[in-house]
Symmetry: C2
Subunit: 235 residues, 2 copies
DNA sequence: CGCATCCTTCGACCTGCGACGAAACGTGCT
DNA sequence: AGCACGTTTCGTCGCAGGTCGAAGGATGCG
């Protein structure tokens, strides 16, 4: 007989994350991209059979979702709550020792700019957040009329983000920078536009992203108060 | 060779939470009270030896801290980050099936009012949060001058909370109510005052709290705009 | 000083589960 | 149809770690 009060069962979820191989898989998926089972196996450094077993368990547990496309099966995190769990765990987990030179290069790229499931993090993330604040776009967890104008001009659907079922514009603080960046529905919407415009592109290392030349110019123009040139979204 | 980029090691932390017995211990400690090793063993339904082994590992992992007092050893969570991890995990963990009548009573009490490590949660938590908003005390993640006056009169050290290293007034949404309540440094400061004044007291079931008669009257007076009677803090 | 209480350490047992290779399954290409 | 490739299933091995009882400190009480 359990004397502890009825509570959410946290152990099963934690157990799914507790295995190093599964943790590597989940961390790889934290980039926000859906990845094929084979790629995940390679990234985690295990055989295809082993990865498959892990993915099957993660699927059962509702941590990942799968979409079949031809003979590939692309896995992604099941939702932003899952990404939040991983981020919070990373925050208490502490930074690991960096071993090889190659890893230190990758680590530097991750610190520079990366995606945190569906929004921008790292130095780029906090930089963007700071610039939005300075420009008077944000007040607490709300967007000012000024911000509405600026983001609207960029092509961000602020109203749509506000109606989303998840939190609108929470500060999300990550484990590399010790400062906050913009998460939530608004952070995701802005990041989506940045990718769509080609201002940021995904880098070779799983979660990293890079700013493009257009991105550098576009962002500079955006915050210098100039109007943007007309925007032709990619279908 | 690991192909995954250098990242925080989340697996070891997750592994500590992954065991059902350790999860029960951590959940019990989520009430914010320090508990003796024996009590924790009883609550988790294991022998003293087993609990001791688990507590030792949790201590190593930095998830709990211990204070020796006579022949007792009181364990508590190591910090609010740990409580945050548990809350987030509980949110994705889903609600467990309620088995006995007794558990359903306890579950109802937990939903009514409980502590979430160091701040008020459950219906009481979201109620307080809503009333503070309605009274115009909060704007986004900031406190208005009006709020400063009202909370100051209550005896809350708003300035002290603002200087704390943790987030000031984040919304913390929990797994029973699907709404937000007040967490962070400010939430903790307010809750501390509520206990100090005797407006809330801890209930018999681990994480539950109960509002007292004084509490009901005091809160009503507070939000009806009246000034409070002078406050004599408990040493 | 000796006993009771609380907690930890030790030794032994046993279950759970993560690892792989080989083979089966399903899909796309020619 | 037949082959190639990505993925899952199956069978098996081996080890990590959770559990308990009993014994060994440590602390408070009379």
């Amino acid at each position: 007989m359990e004397h502890v009060a009825a509570d959410a069962d946290i152990a099963p979820v934690a157990a799914l994350i507790a295995d190093p191989t599964r943790a590597a898989i989940l961390t790889a998926l934290l980039g926000g991209q859906a990845l094929a089972a084979g790629e995940l196996a390679r990234m985690a450094g295990v055989s295809a059979a082993t990865a498959s077993a892990h993915l099957s368990r993660l699927l059962d547990g509702g941590l990942v979702a799968v979409v079949r496309q031809g003979r590939h099966r692309y896995y992604r995190l099941a939702g932003h709550e899952i990404a939040e769990v991983l981020e919070v765990l990373a925050r208490v987990g502490g930074r690991p020792a960096v071993r090889s030179l190659r890893q230190s290069r990758q680590a530097r790229m991750l610190e520079e700019a990366r995606t945190c499931y569906d929004h921008l993090a790292g130095r780029a993330g906090v930089g963007l957040f700071d610039r939005l604040r300075e420009a008077g776009c944000l007040a607490g967890e709300e967007v000012t009329p000024e911000g509405e104008r600026l983001l609207g001009g960029l092509g961000v659907d602020v109203e749509g983000a506000r109606r989303a079922r998840r939190r609108f514009a929470p500060e999300c603080l990550d484990w590399t920078e010790r400062r906050a960046h913009l998460g939530g529905a608004l952070g995701a919407a802005i990041t989506a536009v940045l990718f769509e415009r080609g201002w940021y592109v995904r880098g070779p290392v799983p979660r990293t992203v890079n700013v493009t030349e257009e991105g550098r110019e576009g962002l500079a123009a955006l915050f210098s108060g100039k109007e943007l040139t007309s925007h032709t979204p990619v279908t």
